[in-house]
């Protein structure tokens, strides 16, 4: 049996590789778990997403009612839908933790530049997932979030207007926008995400786990991936299922009111927490800065910072350099603080 299979598919080579895989053990080892956790939550998204597809109907007339039907009539519908929403949020959270831990531990350094770049691509895919999925219940909050979000895309010079029309499927947010976002959310993004996840995970296998440069001189011991690390991963995933179930049961995700293109934006309207820091910034920016519309300047700044993420490993290359490491740490801490402070302000005001 084994021989028959081996002749057609090199299974034993793969199992051999898996058996040889090791994970370094040191005081920062805890951060190795967040990539796997993000992947696990993505799998939860795929499973619950497919389940929701059994009942969801993507049109302005039916979307809200079909979600209402899912959470009120379908057995465990409330659970599946709540887990999908909560898991999406936790996934973004673990993704951010993963990103910042890789950043501060300098795990993106040569030869892992492409691992970092594919990870940044996955971050943007995840944000697109969140943004497109948010509209699908077709409620008031989602309607205005999408209006503002696509308008932000429209603010970008030169390509903005074309992008806005492409995203909205017209000049306004309508049923056409919903249909498009549905297509992105269930076809385009999953396909792209699968390719990049495969690449990202493959690269991690090729290069092995990175040991932080600060520990390079020390004798770092290792543990076997199978079974030692995998079992620890598993405990994390089981905990995650528990947390998801608890959140879904105690704080079921609200549906709100159906979207109405002729109703004012409700007071206290806010985007998802991972957009809050940008939202809060937009609130503070004055109408005009140096003759430019304030929001244009703010949005362009966020775009540029996002693009800078891609080049991090190429700027921080070459031999270890204390000064550069310090600068990178300071920038990282400042960005993290900015995000945290603005998010908290956005949350409490």
């Amino acid at each position: 049996m084994q021989e028959w299979l081996d002749e057609r598919l090199p299974v034993s080579a793969l199992t051999e590789m898996a058996r040889k895989k090791e994970v370094p053990v040191h005081r920062y080892s805890i951060w190795y778990y967040f990539g796997g956790m993000t992947l696990f939550l993505f799998v939860v998204q795929v499973v619950t997403g497919i389940l929701l597809l059994l009942y969801y109907r993507p049109s302005a007339e039916n979307a809200f009612e079909s979600v209402q039907f899912i959470i009120t009539e379908v057995k465990f519908g409330w659970l599946i839908r709540s887990i999908h929403s909560w898991s999406a949020n936790l996934m973004i959270a673990t993704l951010f933790i993963h990103l910042f831990s890789v950043f501060f531990l300098r795990a993106y350094r040569r030869p892992r530049e492409m691992t970092w770049v594919s990870g940044v691509v996955l971050l943007f895919i995840a944000i697109c997932f969140g943004f497109s999925g948010y509209l699908l219940p077709w409620n008031k909050l989602a309607y205005f979030a999408t209006k503002v979000g696509t308008e932000i895309a429209g603010v970008v010079p030169i390509v903005g207007h074309t992008m806005l029309r492409f995203l909205r499927g017209g000049d306004d947010v309508t049923g056409a926008t919903l249909t498009r976002f549905f297509g992105f959310h269930v076809a385009v993004l999953p396909a792209t995400a699968t390719v990049f996840i495969a690449l990202h995970v493959l690269l991690v296998q090729l290069h092995g786990m990175s040991v932080p440069p600060s520990l390079k001189d020390q004798n770092v011991s290792k543990m076997k991936f199978i079974p030692n690390f995998l079992l620890r991963d598993l405990i994390g995933w089981i905990l995650a299922i528990g947390v998801l179930a608890a959140l879904a049961a105690l704080f079921p995700w609200e549906l709100g009111e159906k979207a109405d293109p002729f109703a004012p934006a409700p007071a206290g309207i806010k985007p998802e927490w991972y957009f809050l820091f940008m939202f809060q910034t937009l609130k503070y920016l004055p109408a005009k800065i140096l003759g430019m519309d304030g929001e244009v300047l703010g949005i362009m700044t966020f775009n540029i910072v996002a693009l800078l993420l891609f080049i991090v490993p190429f700027v921080d290359s070459g031999p270890e350099n204390r000064k550069r490491t310090l600068i990178f740490n300071i920038i990282g801490v400042l960005v993290l603080l900015y995000i945290l402070v603005m998010t908290i302000i956005g949350y409490v005001t």
Partner: protein, 158 residues
């Protein structure tokens, strides 16, 4: 390889005829590849950009009945496919504006307490002349003309 000859220095080169024929074929192959790709990509791109829908040319609309809008209140009405806001000020004066915030296109509302038009999305304020007075909006709201016909309030583009 059959068509290659040794040159004076002993290296093998292609005779000019073969070389130019190859270049010509490469050129044909390249241009047809580009043309084929273009013929595939162009319709896809055009398909993705949504067709323009002719905007309603309505220049005036019956926004509300007089008794529907008490003093110091506001009401959203449909002006074609866009929302407009009708405000009745403290003094009973009627005003109408586009209800689309000039910042990021949220729909504004009338705030009786501050007697201002307010956008909840990013906390933008406009006064009752539609002028942006606080928060991020960069431009005033577009103002419409208001007329009353019996008890009907008619709003028209200025």
């Amino acid at each position: 390889m059959k068509n290659t000859l040794p040159d004076s220095t002993g290296r093998t080169i292609e005779p000019p005829a073969v070389e130019s024929r190859r270049r010509f074929l490469d050129y044909l192959l390249g241009t047809s590849a580009v043309a084929t790709l273009g013929a595939i990509v162009y319709p896809i791109i055009r398909f993705m950009s949504p067709p323009k829908i002719i905007e309603s040319t309505e220049s005036s609309v019956m926004a509300a009945k007089l008794n529907e809008i008490p003093v110091n209140s506001g009401k959203i009405f449909k002006f074609g496919s866009k929302p407009g806001i009708l405000v009745r000020t403290d003094s009973g004066e009627l005003k109408a504006f586009s209800a689309v915030c000039t910042h990021l296109e949220c729909i504004v509302q009338y705030q009786p307490e501050t007697k201002q038009i307010w956008c909840a999305c990013h906390n933008g304020h406009y006064n009752l002349n539609g002028k942006n007075v606080a928060g991020p909006p960069p431009r005033p709201l577009e103002e419409f003309k208001v007329n009353t016909r019996g008890d009907e309030i008619v709003v028209s583009k200025a």
